[in-house]
Symmetry: C2
Subunit: 401 residues, 2 copies
C-alpha cells in the first residue's frame, strides 16, 4: 500500500493591489503607481510587484478563457503546490504555456513569481538568493537612477546631489535627451559628468528614443566618449538586434546596455547573442519574475556579459531584482531609485540604502526581507471592479487582513 505524503502548501489566494499617487504626471518616473501582489499559502504570505500597467495586468488574472493557450493566470496558479523552488519554476512554465497568447501575462506573472519566491523563502527560513543557489549576497555599487533635467543646469544640480549623497554612480535618462540637437544633448551629458565629478561612474539612458535608427545614435557617441560614459542604455527598442549590433561595433569604449523591455528569457538571450550589448538589464517585475531573471543571469555569466537589475520603483522591487544576481561578484552594479515618488518612498519601512561605500547589500532575512508598509499604503489604493456579463471577475479587497 502506498502512503502519499500530505500536501502541505497549496496556493490559496492571490490578490492584487493597485496603488497610485493622486495625480500621475506625463513624465518618465515609473514610481508613480505600483501593482502589489500578495500570495497566501500554508499560513505564509508572499509579496511581489509587477512593473506593469496595473489595470490590464489585473484583468489578465481572472478573465474568461479564450482557448487552450489563452487562459487567465488564475488557471495556472490557484491550487498549485508551492513548497520548493522547483514548484515555482513549474508554475512559471505552466503560465507561459497556458497563457501563450495572452500578451499581458508575462508582466502579471512577474509579480506572482516574485511573491512565490518570497513565500517559499519565508517558509524555509532562507533569503531568496540562497534558494537560488548562491552562498553569499555580494554588495553592489548603487547607481542613482535619475531623469535628465529640463536643462543642463538642472541636470548638473541633480548629479551634484547624487555625488554629495555618497553615491558613486549615476544614470541620467529620458526627459529631453535624444530629441534635442546634438549640441544640446552634448551639454546635458557634460553637465551630468561635471555634477558627478571626474571619478563618478556615468551612465546614459536614451529610453529607446531612436527606435532602430543607428545614424541618430552614432551622432551622440563623441559626446558620450568625451564625458567618459560607462554605458549607453536603450538607444533602440529591445527587439532591434541588428541596430544594436551595428552601433556596438563602433561605440567603444562606451558599451551598450539594454533589456528592460524583455518579457521572457529568449528576448534577453537574443540581446546577448546577437545585439552586442555589454550589459543586460533585467526587471524581475517584467521578465517573468525572479525565476526568469535568474535564467538570464546564468546565461549572462556564461557569456561574460554583465547582468544588472532594472528598478525604478520600490525597495520591494529592488530586493526582488537584485536576488537573481546577488551571488555574482563581478556583476557589481545595481540600479537604485534615487528620487522616487511619495508612493515609492512610503512603500516599505525597511530600505536598501547605500552604505558608506555607496554599496547595497541584500537583507539577511527570509524571502525578500522586505514587506510592504500597509499603514502608509492604504491611502494610495485604488478600488478596482471588473464585471463580465454582470458577474464580478475582479473586486479589490483591503490590504490589511
Amino acid at each position: 500500500m502506498l502512503h502519499s505524503l500530505p500536501v502541505q502548501m497549496r496556493i490559496e489566494a492571490v490578490d492584487f493591489f493597485y496603488l497610485s499617487i493622486p495625480q500621475v504626471l506625463d513624465i518618465g518616473d515609473g514610481s508613480q503607481d505600483a501593482l502589489l501582489v500578495r500570495v497566501l499559502a500554508g499560513g505564509h504570505t508572499g509579496w511581489g510587484e509587477c512593473e506593469a500597467a496595473p489595470l490590464p495586468s489585473i484583468a489578465s488574472w481572472n478573465c474568461p478563457m479564450s482557448h487552450s493557450a489563452c487562459k487567465p493566470l488564475s488557471a495556472s496558479v490557484l491550487g498549485q503546490r508551492v513548497e520548493a523552488p522547483e514548484d515555482i519554476r513549474r508554475i512559471n512554465r505552466l503560465v507561459r504555456a497556458n497563457s501563450l497568447d495572452l500578451l499581458q501575462a508575462d508582466h502579471t506573472l512577474s509579480g506572482i513569481d516574485i511573491a512565490l519566491w518570497d513565500l517559499v523563502g519565508k517558509n524555509l527560513g532562507q533569503p531568496v538568493y540562497q534558494l537560488l543557489g548562491y552562498n553569499q549576497a555580494f554588495p553592489k555599487i548603487a547607481y542613482a537612477s535619475q531623469l535628465f533635467g529640463g536643462d543642463p543646469q538642472s541636470t548638473f544640480r541633480r548629479a551634484q546631489q547624487v555625488a554629495s549623497a555618497g553615491i558613486r554612480a549615476a544614470k541620467f535618462g529620458w526627459g529631453p535627451y535624444g530629441q534635442n540637437s546634438i549640441e544640446e544633448d552634448e551639454d546635458q551629458v557634460q553637465a551630468a559628468r561635471d555634477g558627478l565629478g571626474p571619478d563618478g561612474i556615468l551612465l546614459i539612458d536614451a529610453g529607446t528614443i531612436w527606435y532602430d535608427k543607428v545614424a541618430l545614435a552614432e551622432k551622440r557617441l563623441p559626446a558620450l566618449r568625451a564625458a567618459r560614459a560607462h554605458w549607453l542604455e536603450e538607444p533602440f527598442v529591445s527587439g532591434a538586434l541588428g541596430a544594436y549590433k551595428k552601433l556596438a561595433t563602433q561605440s567603444g569604449p562606451v558599451r551598450l546596455a539594454g533589456g528592460e523591455g524583455c518579457h521572457n528569457f529568449h528576448q534577453a538571450k537574443n540581446l546577448i547573442d546577437y545585439a552586442g550589448v555589454g550589459f543586460i538589464q533585467i526587471d524581475a517585475g517584467r521578465i517573468g519574475g525572479i525565476t526568469t531573471a535568474k535564467e538570464v543571469a546564468d546565461y549572462a555569466q556564461a557569456q561574460d556579459i554583465q547582468f544588472v537589475n532594472h528598478t525604478f520603483t520600490t525597495h520591494l522591487a529592488l530586493s526582488a531584482s537584485i536576488q537573481p544576481y546577488a551571488g555574482l561578484k563581478n556583476h557589481n552594479l545595481c540600479e537604485y531609485p534615487f528620487d522616487p515618488s511619495p508612493l515609492g518612498r512610503d512603500f516599505t519601512r525597511v530600505k536598501l540604502s547605500p552604505d558608506q561605500n555607496g554599496e547595497i547589500t541584500l537583507p539577511e532575512a527570509p524571502g525578500l526581507g522586505i514587506d510592504p508598509n500597509f499603514d502608509a499604503l492604504e491611502k494610495y489604493q485604488l478600488d478596482i471592479e471588473i464585471k463580465v456579463a454582470g458577474k464580478p471577475v475582479f473586486q479589490s479587497g483591503p490590504l490589511k487582513t
Copy 2:
C-alpha cells in the same frame, strides 16, 4: 496670411465588443471568442479585430496612465487626424512610443489599426491593398487550418473532408501532436497525408510544444520528410531564434514556419534574419495591425522569405490578414479557417470562400470589403464593466447604433 485647411476627419470614437460562444472549451480553437473594434470618424465606420484576450485588451484602452511611456491607447488614438494611410502609420508609431511599457498594447493596437485601414479605405473608395500600394490582389491557395484529431483515424477523416471540399492544402496542428511518442506522432502525420491524398500540400503545426528543445523536434523530422510535409510550423516559441536556426540547418526539404506570436516588426525581422525560417506567418490582429504586417511583408519579400497570413478566426480577420501581402504574387499560400466555431461562421455575411481552384481572392470593395453581421452577433456579446476608484473607465455599448 496663412489659410489652414479645415481638418475633416478626426477619430471620434473607438468601441470594443467582446463576443464569445456560451461555453469556451479547453482546446486550441481560437475562434471561440473575438474582440471586435469599431472606429468612427467623419461619418465613416471602420471595423477591426484583435486576435487577443478580450478583457485585458479592453482594459488597456482607457486605463489610467502609469507614466509617460505607459499610457492607455486612448491617449494616442482619440482625436487624431485620420484621412490618409500616413495618418494611420503615425498613430501606430505614437501608440508604440506612448504605450511602450504596456505589454498588452500591441494586441489592442492591432484591432484599432485594422479598423483605421478599413475606415480610410471606405472614405477614399479603395480596397486596403490599393492603399498599401499594390495594383492587384493575387489569388492565394487556401490552406485549411485544422486541429489534429484525437487519433489518426479522426485526423484521416478531417483531411479527407478538406480534400473533398476542393481545397488543395491543409495544416494540422496542436491537439496531441508533439507530446505523444515519436511513433504516434508519425501515425498522425501519415494519416493527414493519406487523407489529403498524394498531391495535397501538407503543413504541420507543432504549436511551440518543444519550447526551445531542438532534440525533441529533430526526432520528428523523418516522419515529416516521409509524409512530404511542406513546412513544420512553430516547433519552438517565437523568440528561440537559435533553436530555430539549428533545426533549420537540418530539416530540409521540410522548411520551418513561424511568427504568429510576434507582436512587433522587429520580432518578425529577427525570425527572418537569425532563425532560418522559410515562411514568416503574421497575424495582423496581433503584430500591430495591417501597418506592421505590411512592413514585415516588405522585408520578407526583400529577403526572399515567403510571407503567409495567420488567421484562425473570422473572415473579417482573414481579409485584414491577406491585405498586407495581397500584391505579392509568389507569396501564394493563405491560411483559411476551415471549421470555425458558430461565432466564427456567423461573424460576417460576406465570406472569402475558396473558388474552384481552391484559391481565395480579396473583395474588390472599399476598405476590407467585409462588415460584421450585427444581427447574428448580438447574441454573442458579453457586457463588460470596469471601474477604477468607483468611476467607470469602460462600459460596453450596443453593436447596433
